[in-house]
Amino acid sequence: MEQNSLLTYLILIPLIGSILILFIKKEQVNFIKYFAVGLSTFAFLLSLVIYFQFDSANSDFQFINKIEWIKGLNIHYHVGVDGMSLLLVLLTTFLTPLTLISSWSSIKNKVKEFTFFFLMLEVGMLGVFISLDLFLFYIFWEAMLIPMYFIIGIWGGKERVYAAIKFFIYTMFGSLLMLVAIVWLAVYAIGPLGYFTTNLIELYSVAPQIPMNIQIWMFLAFAFSFAIKVPLFPLHTWLPDAHVQAPTAGSVILAGVLLKMGTYGLLRFNLPLFPEASIIAAPYISVLAVIGIIYGALVAMVQTDVKKLVAYSSVSHLGFVVLGIFAMTQESIQGAVIQMINHGLSTGALFLLVGVIYERTHTREIADYGGIAKLVPVFSFALMFASLSSVGLPGLNGFVGEFLILLGSFQSPILNSWWFTVFAASGVIFAAVYLLWMYQRVVFGEVKNPKLDGLKDMNAREIFVLAPIFIFIVWIGIYPTTFLKVSDKSTAKVVKQIYHPVKVSPVELGLNQSSKQEVKR
């Protein structure tokens, strides 16, 4: 197979960068900052190169780089992207430099360590999205927990230690089940293939043959781990704590990228590996997703802390994504993929804005604000814009994702009922309530809190961080084709894998990988 090392370079940039940072004197704060921003920007540019070379007409994995790693177990360093993972890679490399710039002045102590962990985090996130070997995936999945744990635990708020440990153990607990399932899968592959393998592409044709009763368990083991990360109701309670306690940059990455790993995992592993189990589980998981949409929105509505409000809104928004995935239509899955990006942008922007105002006032209580429209017009505009994006106003990004998800789920043959969509669509109403109500209490009215006097509007650096995000919010809203096109073939392939799983005999697989035989169920 032809090798392409661009993805490896992409992941090496932050990895080598973070190691180099260890050798820089910690007093050279500014140098460290510029170095990290420069490196992560370089990584973004490289991911753009990958984007431009990517062939969106091809549904196969591209930019594959496969190197033997653990010989005895047939485990490889094996990376590659398709349209879905490419979009998430771009989201990651796009948000990382922006969040680093956003924490320019808010992170004052231990800058060196912070930057180190942040770049390590990028390594982990990219690794998760590009791994095509389950073992490698698992390593990145777990490795990424560590920097996040420290980012929350060291630079977080008052309850940071509780939040960090809760985050770590919650997610770790889920992953262990996944590890068991991965090992089981690899052993199972010995049957049809004749050898132990963790190669995802090979497993795609093997796993669907697993007998139903076991397939269900395998599905659950993976799904549980991903559902925690999403987070799917009722596994979401780590999220508000982690978000509220994390520093702004941590919250942005947590909401922007980390949560997407859960939904990405469902889409990358659960659906194609265990299609029959997925179809059986779909209505149940969709019920949880819809509960999450409404529950998250209702709880967000009554929050008194802005950051917690945004955190609960994530539960609601990610519910849409999960519903889209398990509605299993081309429309809904395309919607889910674009909604992952959307949520990263709009919730990322909301967290950045909360960070901007928190840095000035040191309060996140909604009641402490009011009437700031007069004091900080630019900020007020930006908050309105990000809120509208999150509300799903047509013309901005959020609408495209929600609309496609709901449109697809309404006609899903798997869910086969209007009710999922009817309830989910009511989330659209609640989203308007909690965001506009928050906006009203923070921005409108008269200034009552004397501490707000002399509040400074956003500075050039803060505007510089938000502007690119806003550009993409409009871009996706008006011309989503740019992005939908990238994942179109890959999502179509997932849909095909669900309804017509590829089942291959070992001989054929050994002879020619492309002559896959389709077996209709």
């Binding site: 309670t237 209702l298 239509t329 395309q334 009437g371 659209v428 409108f444 939908l484």
Partner: protein, 645 residues
């Protein structure tokens, strides 16, 4: 000109961007106002050009679609930013840009001196942009973009003076209420779109409407689609049960009330029903629901309008009531009559609001009509134009309102029967009454305001739009003279729109046979009612005000009910809003989330903690203890092996 129709969408957007981005730098009110009005004026001229070009074309070539670029392409879905020029969209485009232009010009005077003058014009332009998307869209999704967009602008403009109080709460409360209630309607609209897509496999108008004729679809499916779409319409067009936001929307500046909450945006629901007439015509039961909701809204809103004292509030309820009229027409399958009323209503209601604005401007933001009186000598132009508008809305012949209202009443009788006619005629009578109550208390009689007020006529930039609208309110009805006077095919407005509704007409039962005598009789009756109501209002409010006071005293219960708008807001708060808030706060958040779910999470951590603490005690560090355990273990294993042999 037709291929340039997209400019009527783009130009307002350009105006919005210029004033929105550079407004604070431009500072010059005249320049900002000129940019804001100018882009709308040019849009109007383009729409007018397209209109005349269309008039010159044979009927089967009158539709043209101008596609800019593709928007959403997934699976079977393929919608674009594409604008459709046809008879219906042109009529609406002319109303929106024409009346919109006049209101923009008026606003230059009305908003003079406001610290956010630029922001006002930016929002107004953005509104026209969204509204043009709504009416020119060639597919449901783009229509929805406009639909939500006008909702956003409505939100921004109701809360324009975001630091002001409004009644018991604030302007921003009113704004939020408008947006949220509209979103409830939008929820219905969304579901309607999903079902359309599922049924017809497309969301483009031409495809959907032709498939609605050719596909074999059950009446029940059409019924669901129609009811979902109609829920959307009740939100945007303030019908029962979602009308509650419109009276509060009066918190916005008066030109906003004229443009958005009277002439254009609120008629979007009527437009949408007319646009999807084939779907509604395929679901006769739902069409009947539309008629009933429309008639009831018209009637009940009129009863509320009778007792209100805030000049804008009277007009707001009047708008709700007139919108009900339009839905009554829709429900009767009289689609072009409904659109005709949309047009005439845009003229006279915009005029009424702008006139009210002129009065409010002159009276230093006093809005209570009990504190007006005798203003006609201070502001002659406002007075005269307002009188014309009041006559027009009362259905006084041959002003515009007479023709449009009468056509609806006739259709209500011919297709719906006496019940609908009585509701409609009763509404018309109440309308004439409260409108002249308003007019007389404002302009006639003796002044009831203090010496601190110095009413004066508004500047020409405000009165000129009034005069233009007054002319339109007078002559606007002449293009829709009923056939009974103008001969067969003499109703030009109807003829122009007819091709669009021919599929729907074919599906609906044809007219019951009625004689010309009946039509003339009913027409005369409605005019007599209107004149009687006007005379009565004149008598009560000019000569014997005691009648009004005594009646209010005598029927105190009813009066309170009307004064408090049937307590609908309170009922919604008690039955819906508060329970949701309470449950979310005290149960979902504080108990379900914090106690139950997190309780399980922290609880399992605690259990492990407790177990570990106890197991740890085994690690005593005393070697003798370990040895003892080891010996016991060996003995136990030994016995186990022996026993299992």
């Amino acid at each position: 000109m037709r291929e340039l129709i997209y400019l009527t969408v783009v130009l307002p957007l350009v105006g919005f961007l210029i004033n929105g981005i550079f407004g604070t730098k431009i500072k010059n009110e005249k320049l900002i106002g000129a940019i804001g009005s100018g882009v709308i004026g040019i849009s109007f001229l383009i729409a007018l050009g397209a209109f005349f070009e269309t008039l010159g074309l044979p009927v089967d070539q009158r539709q043209k679609i101008v596609t800019l670029f593709s928007w959403l392409t997934v699976g079977n879905l393929n919608v674009s930013f594409a604008y459709q020029v046809d008879q219906l969209s042109l009529v609406m485009a002319l109303i929106v840009t024409g009346v919109g232009f006049l209101i923009h010009v008026y606003s230059i005077g009305y908003m003079h001196g406001d610290k956010s003058f630029w922001r006002f014009f930016a929002y107004l332009n953005l509104f026209i942009f969204a509204m043009m998307n709504l009416i020119l869209a060639d597919n449901f999704v783009l229509l929805f973009l406009g639909w939500e967009g006008v909702g956003l602008c409505s939100y921004l403009l109701i809360g324009f003076w975001y630091d002001r109080k409004f009644e018991k709460s604030t302007t921003s409360d009113a704004a939020k209420k408008a947006f949220v209630v509209n979103r409830i309607g939008d929820f219905g609209f969304l579901l309607g779109m999903f079902l359309i897509y599922m049924t017809f496999g497309s969301l483009n108008f031409n495809e959907v409407f032709s498939r609605a004729v050719s596909f074999d679809v059950s009446t029940a499916t059409f019924g669901f689609i129609a009811i979902f779409l109609f829920i959307g319409a009740t939100g945007k067009s303030a019908q029962i049960p979602l009308f509650v936001w419109l009276p509060d929307a009066m918190a916005g500046p008066t030109p906003v009330s004229a443009l958005i909450h009277a002439a254009t945006m609120v008629t979007a629901g009527v437009y949408m029903v007319a646009r999807t007439s084939i779907i509604f015509a395929s679901a006769p039961d739902i069409l009947m629901v539309v008629a009933i909701i429309g008639a009831l809204t018209a009637f009940f809103a009129a009863t509320i309008g009778i007792v209100q004292n805030d000049i804008k509030k009277v007009l707001a309820y009047s708008t709700v009531s007139q919108l009900g009229y339009m839905f009554l027409a829709m429900g009767m399958g009289a689609f072009s009559a409904g659109i005709f009323h949309v047009m005439t209503h845009a003229f006279f209601k915009a005029l009424l609001f702008l006139g009210a604005g002129s009065v409010i401007h002159a009276m230093h933001h006093e809005q209570d009509i009990q504190r007006y009186g005798g203003l006609k000598k201070y502001m002659p132009r406002t007075y005269l134009t307002f009188l014309i508008a009041a006559l027009a809305i009362s259905g006084f012949p041959p002003l515009s309102g007479f023709f449009s209202k009468d056509e609806i009443l006739w259709q209500a009788y011919a297709n719906g029967g006496l019940f609908f006619w009585i509701l409609g005629a009763g509404t018309a009578m109440m309308t004439a009454f409260y409108m002249f109550r308003l007019y007389i208390l404002t302009f006639e009689g003796t002044p009831r305001f203090g010496h601190d007020k110095h009413p004066h006529e508004s500047p020409a930039v405000m009165t000129l739009p009034l005069i233009v609208l007054a002319v339109l309110a007078v002559i606007g009805g002449l293009i829709g003279i009923p056939e009974i006077f103008s001969g067969e095919h003499g109703n030009q407005f109807h003829n122009f729109l007819a091709p669009l509704f021919k599929d729907a007409d074919r599906k609906l039962a044809s007219f019951n046979a009625h004689s010309h005598f009946e039509e003339i009789l009913l027409m005369v009756l409605s005019v007599v009612f209107a004149v009687a109501a006007i005379m009565f209002a004149r008598y009560v409010y000019l000569k014997k005000i005691s009648i009004a006071n005594n009646t209010a005293q005598k029927f105190k219960g009813l009066y309170n009910l009307l004064w408090n708008k049937y307590f609908v807001d309170e009922a919604y708060d008690t039955a819906v809003v508060n329970p949701i808030l309470q449950t979310s706060r005290s149960f979902l958040w504080k108990i379900a989330d914090n106690k139950i779910i997190d309780g399980v999470v922290n609880g399992s951590a605690n259990i492990i903690d407790v177990i570990s603490i106890n197991i740890r005690k085994l690690q005593t560090g005393v070697a003798q203890f370990y040895a003892l355990v080891m010996v016991l273990g060996i003995v136990a294993a030994f016995f186990w092996i022996i026993l299992s042999l």
